[in-house]
C-alpha cells in the first residue's frame, strides 16, 4: 500500500542510481513558492492578472518547476487549480512571444484529455483569462465532433494551443497537411489517472513517442488521486526521461461517512432496504443545495433517477452516464453549472473532472471498490479549494459495508490502492505501426526503439514486435495474397511501409481502443418498463426461457426485436445462464487484504462500537450491522468447528435443487485474484470430471458449479493448483471460456483484424459477431498469432491478477491460510451474495470428444426436458 511520500526539495536534475542506458529520475517536490516568487517569473501582464489570486498548493509548487523546463506530474483533487498551474507558463511564454512578434503559426501547446466535454470547458477556461489579460493567441478544440470547416480553418490559421483527445491526436499525427504545425513546446495530459490503467493510455503513450521523434517537448501531467506516483510519472514522460512529482493530494479537506439506511443490514428484506435507501437519499437531497449521486452501473443510475421522481420534481433531477446522448449529457452539465439541479445521478462519467459548479454533497450507493475512486468521487463535492469535500457512502449489503468502512479508514490514513497498467499491448502496437507506416518507410529496428521509449512498451520483445509486423503485412496465411496486408514488411532488410490504397482509410476510421458495443435496451413485460442494457453479443446467446441477472434482478428472456429485448420478471428463480457482460469494477487486492486483516481483528474481539464510529467513520446503524456481521460469521465458524482467527478460508459445499454440487470459496481477495484462482480450480475440476464447470466470481469469493451429479473433493482440488503450476494451468484454462471469446473479439477489432469501418462503410456489430467463435477456432491453429497472444495477455495480466493469486497460493502452502471445507444445507449468509450474483462464466472441457459425448448424453438422458 502507498503511504504519503516524503518530499525532497526540487533542484537540479540528479542522475538516477541506475547507471544503465535507462536512467530515470523521479523526484518529489515539496517546496512551495511564495506568490511574489511566482509573479516574478511571469510576463508582467500575465502577472498582473494572476496577482488577484492566492496560489493554490499545486500552483505554488508546480509553476516554477514548469517554468524551469521540468517534466512535471501534478496530482491533486478536482477544483484545486491544476489546469491553471499547467497553463500559466504557457500563457506567459506565449505572451512574451506575442510582444516581440515571434509568435508563429503553429501549435505551441498541446492539451490532451480523455473526455470530449471537458475540452470545450478548458477552452472556455482559457479564453477568459486570455481575454482579461488582453492576449490574442488562438485556442482550438479538435475532436471527432469537430466539423470539417473547423479543421480547414485550422490549416489556414493553426491554433497556438490545441485541445484534443487521445484518439484524435493519433489521427492528427497522420493528417499530412496539419502535421507540420504540430510542433509543441509543451504537452499537457489531463485526467491521467483515467488513462494510466487502460489501453487508451498505452495508445496515447505511443502517440507521444511518435510526436517526440520530430520535436522535443516538455510534458506536464495532471492527475486526480492515484498511486504509485512513480509509475504514473514514468508513464507520462516515457523511458529514460526525468520528472518531478508535485503531490498536492491533500489539498482539500474531506468529510466522508459510511452509512446504512436500516438498523440491521444483515437481517433485512430487500423491499424494506430499498425503501429506506430512498428515504435516506431524499433526506440528504433536502438538506443540501445540490447532491451528486454515484451508482456503479448505468442501469442503476436510471433506476435511482426514476424513483427519485416520487419525491423530487423531475426538472430538478439530472441523469448522466455514457449511454446517454451527448446533448443530454451537455444539458445536464450546463444545468448543474447554473445551479438549476437539486440532484444529479451518475454512473461514472462525472468522475472525470468537469467544472460543473456547485455540489455540496456526494452520495455513493454501494461500494466504489477502490480508495482512489472513492476519493475521486467524493472530491467532486465542494467547489472551491477551501470547501470541504463532503460525501456519504450508502451501503446496501454487508459486502458494501465491509469494503466502505475499511476503504474510508485507509483513505484517512493516507493509504491508496495500487493502480496497474497494461504492458506490451500488441493490438495498440498494431494500430500505431499502421499509422507509422502511413507516414513513411521505416527501419524496423528504429521503429522498435521508438516504441520502447514508451513506458508501457519498455519490455517489448523484438520477437513480438516482428510478429506484429508480420501479421499486419498479411502473414499468417495471407502470403499468396499479400495485397490484403495493411503494410509491407521486408524481413531480410527489416524495413516496412504502407501498402494498399485502403490502409489510410482503415487507420483513420478504425482507430481507438474502446470496443464497439451496441447496447440492447431491455424492457420488462407487461408494461415495457426499461430495466437496463445488455450487449448485442449477449443477446445472441439468449433463447426464450433463459433466466439471467441484470442490474441485480432476475429476468426470463421472452423475445427480441431489433435493438430491443423483452423479458419478464423471474424473481426467486435461479439464473440459468452466465451474465458475463456485467463486469463491474474490481475491488483491489490491497483493499481486500486490509478488510481481511480487519475481520481477523474483529474476531479476536478487538473492535468496538466507538472505534468503528470514530476510525471507520460509520454511523450507528452501520456500526451495529458490522458487529452483527462479525457475530454471525463467528457463530457460523464455531458451529462447524472452525477457529475464527482470520486464517481460515472457508469453502462451503452444498447440493442445489438440481442435484449439482456447488462449492463456494469465501476467498476475500478481490475479483481479479478470484478470476484467476477460480478458473484454475474450475479447469482442474473440469478435466478430472469430464464436465463443463459453471463459474460465479465476485470480490468476496467464487463458486464452482459441478453438473451431472459429479462431485469433487475440496482438499484434492486445492492440492492440484499450486504456486508452481498456476500460470501453466491458467494459460490453458482461459482458452475454453466465454471470456476468451469476448475479449478476442475486442482485441481483433483493435488489431484491425475485424473492422468496424471498411472502405468507408460501417459494418454492423452483428455481422462482426457472427463468426467470432469460428474465427477464433481458425486462428487458434496458428502459432503465436498476435491477436490470440494479446487476448491471452490481456486476460492474464489486465483482467486477472496472477501475481497476487500466486501470493495467496503461497500463503496457503506456507500454512498462513488454511482452506477449510464445510458442508452446509444452504449457503450461509456470508455466501449468499456470491450464490445469488449469477453465473459469470463457464469453463469448457478441453477434450472435444468428451464434450460431444457429454452433450449427447445430455440430450439422450434428459428426455423430458426440452433439450438441444
Amino acid at each position: 500500500m502507498g503511504a504519503r511520500p516524503s518530499g525532497k526539495s526540487s533542484g537540479k536534475i540528479l542522475i538516477g542510481l541506475n547507471a544503465s542506458s535507462e536512467y530515470m529520475s523521479i523526484q518529489y517536490a515539496s517546496k512551495s513558492y511564495s506568490k511574489s516568487e511566482i509573479l516574478s517569473l511571469l510576463h508582467p501582464r500575465v502577472a498582473r492578472w494572476y496577482s488577484r489570486f492566492e496560489p493554490t498548493p499545486p500552483q505554488a509548487m508546480a509553476i516554477p518547476l514548469i517554468h524551469n523546463g521540468e517534466n512535471v506530474l501534478i496530482t491533486s483533487p478536482t477544483g484545486t487549480g491544476k489546469t491553471l498551474a499547467a497553463f500559466m507558463t504557457v500563457i506567459s511564454e506565449l505572451a512574451s512571444m506575442e510582444d516581440n512578434g515571434s509568435l508563429d503559426d503553429r501549435v505551441y501547446a498541446l492539451y490532451v484529455s480523455p473526455l470530449r466535454a471537458l475540452n470545450n470547458d478548458i477552452r472556455r477556461n482559457l479564453l477568459v483569462p486570455l481575454e482579461e489579460i488582453g492576449l490574442n493567441f488562438r485556442v482550438a478544440v479538435r475532436t471527432g465532433d469537430t466539423p470539417s470547416s473547423e479543421r480547414q480553418r485550422m490549416l489556414r490559421k493553426p491554433p497556438h494551443i490545441l485541445i484534443t483527445t487521445p484518439e484524435t491526436l493519433a489521427i492528427v499525427l497522420n493528417a499530412t497537411r496539419f502535421r507540420r504545425f504540430l510542433t509543441p513546446n509543451w504537452v499537457i495530459v489531463d485526467e491521467i489517472h483515467a488513462l494510466f490503467e487502460n489501453k487508451r493510455g498505452a495508445h496515447l503513450s505511443l502517440s507521444l513517442e511518435r510526436l517526440n521523434r520530430l520535436v522535443s517537448f516538455q510534458r506536464i501531467g495532471l492527475s486526480a488521486t492515484i498511486w504509485p506516483l512513480d509509475e504514473v510519472a514514468r508513464f507520462l514522460v516515457g523511458n529514460g526521461r526525468s520528472c518531478v512529482v508535485v503531490n498536492a493530494s491533500y489539498a482539500k479537506e474531506k468529510d466522508i461517512r459510511v452509512e446504512t439506511p436500516v438498523p440491521d443490514l444483515i437481517h433485512v428484506n430487500a423491499d424494506t432496504l430499498n425503501k429506506e435507501m430512498y428515504r435516506r437519499l431524499n433526506e440528504i437531497i433536502r438538506e443540501h443545495r445540490t447532491t451528486l449521486i454515484f451508482t456503479n452501473t448505468r442501469s442503476g443510475a436510471e433506476r435511482v433517477a426514476f424513483h427519485l421522481q416520487d419525491s423530487v420534481a423531475v426538472d430538478d433531477i439530472g441523469t448522466h452516464h455514457g449511454s446517454l446522448s451527448r446533448d443530454v449529457r451537455l444539458d445536464v452539465e450546463e444545468k448543474l453549472k447554473r445551479g438549476e439541479l437539486k440532484v444529479v445521478v451518475s454512473s461514472t462519467s462525472l468522475e472525470l473532472g468537469i467544472d460543473i459548479g456547485y455540489i455540496d454533497c456526494v452520495v455513493q450507493i454501494g461500494s466504489p471498490k477502490s480508495i482512489s475512486r472513492c476519493l475521486q468521487r467524493i472530491g467532486r463535492a465542494g467547489h472551491r479549494i477551501r470547501d470541504v469535500s463532503k460525501g456519504v457512502l450508502l451501503c446496501m449489503s454487508h459486502e458494501d459495508l465491509l469494503e466502505c468502512a475499511v476503504m474510508v479508514k485507509c483513505a484517512y490514513e493516507g493509504k491508496l490502492d495500487r493502480a496497474s497498467h497494461p504492458k506490451n499491448a500488441l493490438d495498440v502496437l498494431a494500430q500505431h505501426l499502421v499509422g507509422m507506416a502511413l507516414e513513411q518507410k521505416w527501419d524496423a529496428e528504429e521503429a522498435f526503439g521508438l516504441v520502447r521509449k514508451s513506458y508501457t512498451f519498455k519490455d517489448l520483445s523484438w520477437d513480438d514486435f516482428e510478429k506484429t509486423l508480420r501479421y499486419l503485412s498479411g502473414g499468417y496465411g495471407l502470403e499468396p495474397y499479400k495485397v490484403y496486408g495493411k503494410i509491407w514488411y521486408d524481413e531480410r532488410d527489416r524495413v516496412f511501409g504502407r501498402r494498399g490504397k485502403y490502409a489510410r482509410v482503415i487507420y483513420m476510421l478504425n482507430l481507438g481502443t474502446i470496443p464497439d458495443e451496441v447496447a440492447i435496451k431491455v424492457y420488462s413485460l407487461p408494461g415495457k418498463r426499461y430495466v437496463g442494457n445488455i450487449e448485442e453479443e449477449f443477446l445472441e446467446r439468449l433463447e426464450p426461457g433463459d433466466i439471467f441477472v441484470l442490474g441485480g434482478r432476475v429476468y426470463e428472456f421472452v423475445r427480441s426485436s431489433g435493438v430491443k429485448a423483452y423479458v419478464k420478471d423471474a424473481k426467486g428463480k435461479k439464473p440459468t445462464i452466465p451474465s458475463w457482460f456485467s463486469e463491474m469494477l474490481p475491488l483491489s487486492f490491497d483493499l481486500a487484504c486490509e478488510i481481511r486483516r480487519f475481520m481477523g481483528e474483529a474476531f479476536r474481539g478487538g473492535v468496538g462500537l466507538d472505534e468503528l464510529k470514530r476510525k471507520f467513520r460509520v454511523n450507528e446503524w452501520a456500526a451495529r450491522s458490522l458487529l452483527n456481521l462479525f457475530k454471525v460469521e463467528k457463530e457460523f465458524l464455531e458451529r462447524h468447528g472452525v477457529e475464527p482467527d482470520g486464517r481460515s478460508l472457508i469453502v462451503e459445499e452444498f447440493k442445489d435443487e438440481d442435484g449439482r454440487q456447488n462449492l463456494i470459496f469465501l476467498f476475500l481477495f478481490g475479483r481479479r485474484v478470484n478470476d484467476a484462482l477460480s478458473r484454475a480450480y474450475a479447469w482442474v475440476a473440469s478435466k478430472e470430471m469430464g464436465v463443463n464447470v459453471g463459474l460465479t466470481v465476485t470480490d468476496h469469493g467464487f463458486m464452482l458449479t459441478i453438473p451431472r451429479r459429479k462431485k469433487v473433493d475440496v482438499y484434492w482440488l486445492i492440492s492440484r493448483v499450486s504456486s508452481s503450476n498456476l500460470k501453466e494451468i491458467l494459460s490453458r484454462a482461459i482458452r475454453n471460456t466465454e471470456m476468451f471469446k469476448r475479449r478476442f473479439r475486442h482485441v481483433a477489432a483493435r488489431s484491425f483484424m475485424v473492422l468496424r469501418n471498411y472502405k468507408g462503410h460501417e459494418i454492423r456489430v452483428k455481422r462482426q459477431m457472427r463468426n467470432a467463435e469460428s474465427l477464433l477456432r481458425v486462428v487458434s491453429d496458428l502459432d503465436d498469432f498476435p491477436v490470440v497472444k494479446e487476448t491471452e495477455r490481456e486476460i492474464m495480466e489486465d483482467v486477472m491478477d496472477v501475481e497476487n493469486a500466486l501470493t495467496v497460493l503461497r500463503m496457503i502452502e506456507r500454512g498462513e491460510l488454511e482452506v477449510t471445507p464445510v458442508r452446509t444445507p444452504v449457503p450461509s449468509p456470508l455466501a449468499h451474495g456470491i450464490y445469488l450474483s449469477g453465473l459469470s462464466d463457464v469453463i469448457l472441457m478441453e477434450d472435444r470428444l468428451k464434450l460431444l459425448e457429454y452433450l449427447y448424453r445430455r440430450v439422450v438422458e434428459d428426455a423430458d426436458d426440452k433439450m438441444g
Partner: protein
C-alpha cells in the same frame, strides 16, 4: 468416421460411397474470405490450403474412382477476385493430376467456372446420376428419381447447449427421406461458411427441405478431424 447402411460419413466432412467408388464433398466456397473482407471487414487467411489438404488426404485414404464436387465449388463474388481464380485454378489442376474421375455438380454460386472447366474438358452438370445415386446441389428440386439423393447447399448445423446455456454449434450430415428416396444432406467443407441451424430454424433455403419433414431426419454431428457422432432425430433436439 461413421458407417451408415450405404455410405461412410468422414470426419473431414466428406462422404464415401463404396458401391460406386465415389468420394463426395460439397460447398467449398473458394473465395469466401473475400466476401468476409469486403462485406464484413474481417481479415482472415484463406481456408483453401486446409480444405485442399483434407481433400487430398481423403483421396489417399479412400482411393475412390470418382470424386464428386457437389456444388458451390466457388463463392461467386461480383467480378471473380484474385484469390478465387488462384484457388479455383489450383484446385482443379491439382485434382486433375489425381487418378480419379472428376464430377462437378453445379451450385448456385458456380457461375464463371464453366470456361475454366472446359479447358480441362470437365463438364459442369446440374444433376449427376451414378448408379442408384443422384447428386444434386440442392438449390432446385431434382428432376429425376433415384434410390439415394445426395445434396449440399443447406450447410446444415446443429446447436446444442450445456447445463449453463453455453451454445455449441456443430456441422452435421442429415439423413432422411424425400419423396420416397433416401436423402443425405452434406455439410459445407468451409470452416467459416455459416449455414442453417437445423434444430432451430424451420425456414430452410433448399426447396427440397421445404417439401419434407426435416424434424424426422437424423443428424450426424461432426467434430472436425476427430469424429462423427449420430444424434437423436432433429425433433428431439428442438427447444
Amino acid at each position: 468416421m461413421l458407417t451408415i447402411k450405404w455410405a461412410k460419413l468422414l470426419e473431414d466432412l466428406g462422404l464415401m460411397i463404396e458401391e460406386i467408388g465415389a468420394l463426395v464433398v460439397a460447398d467449398l466456397h473458394l473465395g469466401y474470405e473475400d466476401v468476409l473482407r469486403e462485406e464484413e471487414g474481417i481479415f482472415i487467411a484463406s481456408q483453401y490450403p486446409k480444405m485442399k489438404s483434407l481433400i487430398l488426404e481423403m483421396l489417399e485414404e479412400a482411393s475412390p474412382d470418382i470424386l464428386v464436387l457437389n456444388g458451390d465449388f466457388k463463392h461467386e463474388f461480383g467480378e471473380a477476385s484474385l484469390q478465387e481464380w488462384i484457388e479455383v485454378r489450383d484446385l482443379i489442376e491439382t485434382l486433375v493430376k489425381e487418378k480419379v474421375k472428376l464430377v462437378f455438380v453445379r451450385g448456385n454460386h458456380d457461375n464463371f467456372i464453366v470456361t475454366l472447366l472446359r479447358k480441362y474438358e470437365l463438364p459442369l452438370i446440374q444433376e449427376a446420376r451414378i448408379g442408384d445415386y443422384l447428386f444434386i446441389h440442392g438449390h432446385r428440386l431434382p428432376t429425376q428419381k433415384a434410390e439415394y439423393i445426395i445434396m449440399g447447399h443447406e450447410h446444415p448445423s446443429i446447436v446444442l447447449r450445456d447445463e449453463f446455456g453455453t451454445k455449441f454449434r456443430y456441422k452435421a450430415f442429415l439423413l432422411g427421406e424425400y419423396a420416397g428416396s433416401e436423402l443425405l444432406v452434406l455439410p459445407s467443407m468451409h470452416p467459416l461458411a455459416t449455414g442453417t441451424v437445423i434444430n432451430r430454424e424451420r425456414d430452410y433455403i433448399s426447396p427440397i427441405l421445404k417439401f419434407t419433414d426435416v424434424d424426422s431426419f437424423t443428424p450426424f454431428l461432426v467434430e472436425p478431424g476427430l469424429t462423427v457422432k449420430q444424434f437423436p432425430k432433429v425433433e428431439r433436439l428442438r427447444r
